[in-house]
Amino acid sequence: MNTQSFASAKNLSPECRDAVHALLLATADTKMFLGFHYGEWTFGTPALEAGIAACCMSQDEFGHLRLLHGCLTAQFGDSPGELLEKRALDSFANMACLDRPLVKWADFVAVNLFADGALTVILTGLQKSAFVPVANFVDKMVEEEKHHLRNAQGWFRTLATYNSQTKAALEEASRWALSPTLEWLGPSNHAVMQSLEQNGIVNVSWEMLRQRFLDWVGAFAYEQKISIGLEQTNGHWAPAFPLDFSQWNPRLRRCTPTQPDEKILYHLRGSKNAIFKLGE
């Protein structure tokens, strides 16, 4: 693995530059949609404190989004307008489980655990990254994400053990959220991931990061007696369902050309209040 560090995106090779750009954009997009859904669940939670926690996590995600957009603008020349306002729906690289509104509380909990959890595992892989602009802010993100995962684990345990109805709802939501999360993580042997590894952008192999996520959620769900579609072989957890990465798009981190709900983008862009956008 590379021991060189890169103070700026200009110092990266063209293929590594594209790989870092795609990863940061996909991370930013996922955080933007997560932040939106968490924000929506400020209201209607099973308890007032759960609404405060959801709102707080939403603020964290939008704070992280701001840092990521700042990095994308400064290092890769992306304009803030292009990152959100002027992008086609089919160009967003968020996890597909965030494409639609989270209707049930169990959906929220599943996304909190799987989508936010997978993102956090990737962020830990970016700690001490050879790409200095990312290494500079990622530790703070990981620190804040610890509370998100505590919230996810606390609610997952609560729903898993409360009664058969909550357990069934959690199982269904978990199976729904896990597959698109693994799709977003992508195939470890892809050239994009190998470029990230070889240039020290991530501190361990992509396969190790992916396995770290699977082993964590696999063991955790097993402890709670929730079947999420993973099976254990040789001490490691792996999907028991097929994942076909032959059509995987490294820019969108999706296997099929799906896209987020237009209504969510309408709200995220503040389209209803377009006339109040000053200076544009």
Partner: protein
């Protein structure tokens, strides 16, 4: 927020989870030399969520240390009968 989350009756969950909640008292301090003080309380179904809720509900200060205690575990030494100890 004028959101798009469809209204779904989560009432079953709400009523049942609410019924299983405990009250936790939250204590914190901003510096080692300061005494730890009572900053408020949270309702939570278990210790794990009580920790998250304490952190998210009382994050307006830069705390150095924070802990939660189940109210039921607190042994009163002086307890004025006309007012609850914690105010709620």
């Amino acid at each position: 927020m004028a959101g798009i989350k469809p209204f779904v009756a989560n009432n079953f969950l709400k009523q049942n989870i609410m019924a299983s909640q405990r009250i936790y008292e939250v204590f914190a301090r901003k510096a080692h030399e300061e005494p730890i003080m009572h900053v408020g309380s949270v309702n939570a179904p278990n210790d794990e969520l009580a920790k998250v809720y304490a952190w998210t509900a009382y994050d307006e200060e830069k705390w150095l240390e924070m802990c939660v205690v189940r109210r039921s575990e607190i042994i009163p030494v002086l307890n004025p009968e006309d007012k609850p100890i914690w105010g709620n």
